[in-house]
């Protein structure tokens, strides 16, 4: 039982001084430009004394009321901008005259801060971002350093705004953890308790009286009133499943009629973490600063892939945001992505209210299980220079780079994994590894845009930056003792070549091996020599092209025609499929008809992969971050997300 002390109102300055003593900058709520915002404070006088706010959908107004210091709702923006800045440097990439490259990752240099007047919902926001950025498979070092360097002095709410719904999200108004000190404001002072060793040390130094029973009772009553005062609740029971069952709700289109896709909700949300990598290079592109900035799933080019935008409509973007926040977040991080602060309601320029939308889209029923994710290391700025040994043209627009990484880590790349490739002057590229051999990575790259074109234009001896290996590769173990069907479309032959190398290396562990390969034209076929050589190694190669001239004597048609007369029922086969999504759908259907179950049919999804480790949010599909949880998935894992529009 934590001892509750009493901090007289006049002594608040002593607390602020004590916080500042250890060289910390104290960040608290202040009145600025007609609202309350977090900013550095020097004394209690800087706090919004005698101010209160009226928040409603699309509206925020300050007004005079009482003379308390913390009688205000959630400030305009949360503490996110201190723990996860809206812009932060990643690395500086440089290329010298003879083609070498150098990377200088930004070193985290967190300011020592003390947050004062932090609400329960605010703390919940910090804890959720801890899960995402510091406790996931990958750790954002800058974020962790900033969190470690910050002190949290919470103030429990004794009133609730009309947009507050922390009670229904289970995050407040009581402060139950994540704080160093917690205060509850009374007219003449604060009931104070510590939540950490440092918090206890600070309170002890102030030499405060113990709080009286009456003071403790008042404080408890104040917080209780804040709970009861909260308006419309969100029914969280089974919300995850309820929402996922409504992916086809007509309501999405209705919301889209009102939604401006302006991204304000995501910017003010204390848990939203999506980012994009921006570049600033000198006129010659020799030195490039990579910078990470807040981005939003509501923005046009956020979901842009090489082929276009997979969330072109506002309704797709709103659905992505809401289902992520309240449903798939749970799958990804074992917690809801919403803390009930109500900012997305107040700061929506057209007053869209998530509580109302949720109640209409997903009326209540029972609860859902959670999933956990393993923890491993990694950081979005950590590129290592690697030297190009050779560049071999495969087709008119595709070449294979053989690259020597500086250490063995990258050589441990497993079949189906990919690496991030960074060239100074260009945005980073996710590239599937097409072979690991003789101490080198083979990357087969198609000139699909300026960055890829520049990559395959590099001469031997030039360097580029690599980060990886990344992603979940092909589960070869799931195929041991079985027939193996490998289906590749177009450039998709590259990510399956390491798989082919692997099964041929251990040929006796597998049954029949079949490669079905579809290319656009005979001239677009990759690895032509190997296609001829593999049959000698007892790998049946079936080829087909979309269109051909009279000199082509092979098959013409689509890849499914290679398989639609086959039946695998007698020999439990495993299938590995990669190519354009549409091609994979057709193939998966054909294989299913041939008797290969979804559990043993594996696809590699080519999505927009920005940071490579699922921290930037670009690659999301339902509950998955493709570049972290994939790119390889069993079709059974994807369920009806596979091939759905606007996911």
């Amino acid at each position: 039982m934590v001892t509750e002390r009493f901090l007289p109102r006049a002594d608040l300055d002593r607390l602020i001084a004590a916080l500042a003593e250890s060289g910390r900058t104290v960040i608290g709520p202040v009145v600025r430009d007609g609202a309350v915002a977090y900013a550095p404070i020097a004394a209690a006088a800087d706090l919004p004394v005698g101010w209160t706010d009226v928040q409603a959908p699309g509206s925020y107004r300050l007004q005079r009321g009482g003379d308390r210091m913390f009688d205000i709702g959630p400030p305009a923006q949360g503490l996110k901008r201190y723990t996860f800045p809206s812009r932060s440097p990643l690395t500086v990439a440089e290329r010298d005259a003879d083609g070498g490259v150098r990377f200088t990752p930004a070193i985290p240099d967190p300011p020592r801060l003390a947050f004062l007047g932090v609400r329960a919902c605010e703390i919940a926001g910090l804890l959720v971002q801890d899960r995402v950025l510091a406790e996931g498979p990958f750790v954002d070092e800058d974020y962790r350093a900033r969190r470690d360097a910050a002190l949290v002095v919470a103030v429990q709410c004794t009133r609730a705004g009309s947009t507050c719904f922390c009670a229904s999200m289970g995050t407040g108004p009581e402060v139950t953890g994540g704080h160093d000190i917690v205060l509850t404001e009374l007219d003449d002072g604060y009931v104070a308790a510590s939540g950490s060793v440092e918090g206890d040390r600070i309170l002890a130094r102030l030499g405060l009286e113990a709080a009286t029973a009456a003071q403790q009772a008042d404080s408890a009553a104040g917080v209780a009133s804040a709970r009861t005062a909260q308006g419309r609740a969100v029914a969280t029971e089974g919300l995850r499943d309820r929402l996922m069952d409504q992916l086809d709700s007509p309501r999405w289109a209705e919301i889209a009629d009102r939604c401006l896709a302006c991204s304000n909700c995501t910017m003010v949300c204390p848990t939203c973490f999506c980012t994009s990598v921006g570049m600033e290079s000198d006129l010659d592109g020799a030195t490039t600063k990579l910078e990470r900035t807040w981005d939003s799933c509501f923005t046009g080019d956020f979901a842009r892939v090489a082929g276009g935008n997979f969330r072109p409509r506002r309704q797709d973007r709103y659905r992505q945001w809401l289902t992520h926040k309240f449903a798939t977040w749970v799958d990804q991080f074992g917690t809801s992505g919403c803390v009930g602060c109500g900012r997305c309601i107040t700061w929506c320029p057209v007053g869209i209210d998530v509580r109302e939308e949720l109640s209409i889209i997903a009326p209540p029923y029972e609860a859902a299980p959670l999933t956990e994710l393993p923890v491993i290391a990694g950081s979005p700025g950590a590129y290592v220079p690697a030297t190009i040994r050779s560049v071999t043209p495969e087709t008119a627009d595709t070449s294979t780079l053989v690259i020597e990484p500086p250490d063995d880590a990258l050589l441990a790349t497993r079949p189906g994994q990919f690496v991030m490739v960074e060239q100074p002057g260009f945005p980073p590229l996710p590239i599937s590894v097409s072979r690991v051999r003789d101490g080198a990575l083979w990357l087969t790259i198609r000139a699909a845009g300026p960055a890829t074109a520049a990559a395959i234009a590099l001469p031997p001896g030039a360097q580029l930056g690599l980060r990886g290996p990344l992603g979940r590769g092909w589960p070869i173990e799931r195929a041991v003792g079985r027939d193996v069907v490998i289906v590749a479309g177009g450039i998709g032959l590259a990510p399956v070549r390491p798989l082919i190398d692997a099964v041929l290396r251990d040929r006796r562990s597998f049954g029949r091996l079949v490669l079905a390969y579809g290319a656009r034209t005979p001239a677009d076929r990759l690895y032509v020599e190997e296609l001829g050589a593999w049959p000698k190694l007892d790998l049946e190669v079936l080829e087909i092209v979309d269109r051909a001239g009279p000199d082509w004597l092979g098959r013409v048609g689509i890849v499914t025609q290679l398989l639609d007369q086959r039946d695998w029922r007698d020999r439990a086969a495993s299938a590995f499929v990669v190519g354009p999504e549409r091609m994979m759908q057709a193939t998966v259907a054909t294989l299913a008809a041939g008797g290969i179950p979804a559990e043993r049919t594996f696809v590699s999804l080519e999505r927009h992969m920005e940071c490579g480790i699922g921290l930037c949010g670009h690659c999301q599909m339902g509950p998955f971050f493709i570049c972290r949880d994939g790119p390889v998935f069993a079709v059974s894992e994807l369920g009806d997300l596979f091939g759905r529009e606007g996911i």
């Binding site: 699309g58 302006c262 910017m267 046009g300």
Partner: protein, 269 residues
Amino acid sequence: MTARTEHQRPRVGVVKLASCDGCQLTLLDLEDQLLPILGRFDLIEFPEASSLRSHGPYDILLVEGSVSTAEQAAEVVDLRSRTRMLVTIGACATSGGIQALRNAADEPAWRASVYPEPQFISSLATATPIAEHVVVDAELRGCPIAPDQLLELLTALRVGRRPQLPVESVCQACKRAGNICVLVSDGIPCLGPVTQAGCGALCPAYGRGCYACFGPREEANVPSFHGWLSRDRAPGEADRLFAGFTGWAPNFREPATRAVVAIEEADDA
């Protein structure tokens, strides 16, 4: 290593049609970068800054201003034929500029009211964006364009990559900057939610509403926002907000046209 090397400097031209010169001046406003840029690009046509003239051909042509006379309509076609990559710079070139509001009005009447001898005026009844006349390869939005976007365009062209010109809303940049929303907290009309970023969310940072210098962003939901703005305003006031420097852009054209027509009617009355 870059797509272009030293010995082949791109030949650049800068020309203007109907406009205020502010966007081409932005090139000269890149003070620190100006001489390095001139070392890497061959500026063969820029009448505002040089007496040396050239008919091209141009690798890159920056075109400011809207097409407002018959001569300009012919000129822009001719320029296109001598240009590899034509970049329109600024609101006039990309959406017609504020002078394009006359497209919604009775232009001869305007002429007569401004000029004592209107019969001498040779001007098209409309002022239109370049893209309505010729194919445009790239555009820089803004009234005026942002110096950093111009520098990014030139850098990208030289390095041979796609320039980073965000299509996000002004709100996104505004929140990133930590500004307090003037619309939500003060009720000041602000077009940020439907306007493309690029200015650095200047107006909210300076305590006033955005007036859409960079024009409508993709997916700009004007009907919804217009409805919201109209709730507590006199009829027609919301329309006028859209009748600005990018008022002739397709997404803003409907309310902007209503505003111009309303003003004309009030004027005649």
